[in-house]
């Protein structure tokens, strides 16, 4: 299967150098230019939102549903967006909230039917996971983290997002985020050590 190969890059800043945050923000406020401005933010952020969600929910089709729902929320919330935070920060906040809500529902549903193990199994079934054994072990270790801690780890580790920006998105203090990341790394390294011992 040919696939879009998005290599890691610092993802916390807009990709295009021509991007003018203030101008785009103004265009989002005006009904005449709103739809075109919305199209621009979809183009700018769809990949980053996709990969944030995909790392959280694993499955592509569920990710696709969530990504579309997130941009629908963005569209619905344009009236309330006052440009007090960066557009990117605002979208990421919506995305993380949607992910956490989805994961909480899914967790309840899976535990209700005694199928909590399914998630780990679904990870191995992902055709698009670039799975050498160590990467798979890392992803399994990630799935064992509490959701909020996992999202902190994903933003910091994969997106290289500054703590200050994460703080704004997650409404959590920088100190708490640093502690959360530290504990996440510790737990992951313990899991990886177990994996290495089995080799």
């Amino acid at each position: 299967m040919v696939a879009t190969d998005t290599l890691p890059r610092p993802q916390c800043q807009p990709m295009s150098v021509d991007f003018n945050e203030q101008e785009l923000s103004q265009r989002l406020q005006s009904p005449a230019t709103r739809e075109a401005a919305f199209a621009q933010i979809v183009d700018l952020y769809k990949e980053r939102v996709y990969f944030l969600v995909r790392r959280m929910v694993i499955d592509h089709s569920q990710t696709d549903d969530l990504v579309q729902d997130i941009f629908i929320r963005v569209w619905q919330g344009l009236d309330k967006f006052r440009g007090e935070s960066q557009i990117f920060t605002w979208i990421y906040r919506i995305a993380t909230n949607e992910c956490l809500t989805y994961l909480a529902k899914r967790k309840r549903w899976l535990s209700l039917f005694g199928r909590s193990h399914e998630w780990l199994e679904s990870l191995e079934a992902q055709k698009e996971l670039r799975a050498d054994q160590i990467q798979l072990a890392l992803q399994k270790a990630l799935l064992r983290l509490p959701e909020k801690q996992r999202i902190v780890f994903l933003m910091r580790y994969y997106d290289e997002m500054p703590y200050e920006q994460m703080s704004e998105i997650l409404s959590t203090s920088v100190g708490a985020l640093k502690a959360s990341y530290h504990f996440a790394v510790k737990k992951i390294e313990e899991e990886l050590a177990k994996f290495a011992a089995q080799l």
């Binding site: 890691p8 990949e47 990969f51 629908i72 670039r130 890392l138 990886l192």
Partner: protein
């Protein structure tokens, strides 16, 4: 084993044509379809609630208000007529409930369309 021992890279890849198909237009189309469906659900729920209210009103013990039932007629009536029929009829409850449950959803949708509440109901039928 340390995290730094692992080559950091994006763990997932998206299907090749995925991002080209994900556009503002496709997202807004989904949003509008969803709004339309929500409107249909609401309209049907309102219709059913109105019919239920009609049955309940009919069941009130007010014989003085009861009128002679019309002769047996085909039951697929427009909603307004159906409600009037229910209000005026002394048909047993069980029979009324049976009649309502037999009305297919297409008829409700057609009703909405006929009343210009849902101009593009056809593609949902």
């Amino acid at each position: 084993m340390k995290l730094s021992d692992i080559n950091r890279r994006e763990p997932f890849i998206a299907p090749s044509d995925y991002f080209s198909g994900l556009t503002a237009q496709s997202i807004l189309e989904r949003y509008r379809k969803r709004k339309r469906r929500a409107y249909i659900r609401l309209s049907i729920a309102a219709s059913v609630a109105a019919a239920t209210l009609g049955i309940w009103l009919y069941s009130l013990p007010s014989k003085e208000l009861a009128v002679q039932p019309p002769a047996a007629e085909p039951v697929l009536l427009p909603l307004d007529d159906a409600l009037e029929y229910i209000a005026e009829s002394d048909m047993p409850h069980s029979e009324l409930i049976e009649i309502i449950s037999e009305i297919p959803s297409e008829v409700w949708l057609q009703e909405l369309q006929d009343h210009n509440l849902l101009p593009d109901a056809e593609d949902l039928l």
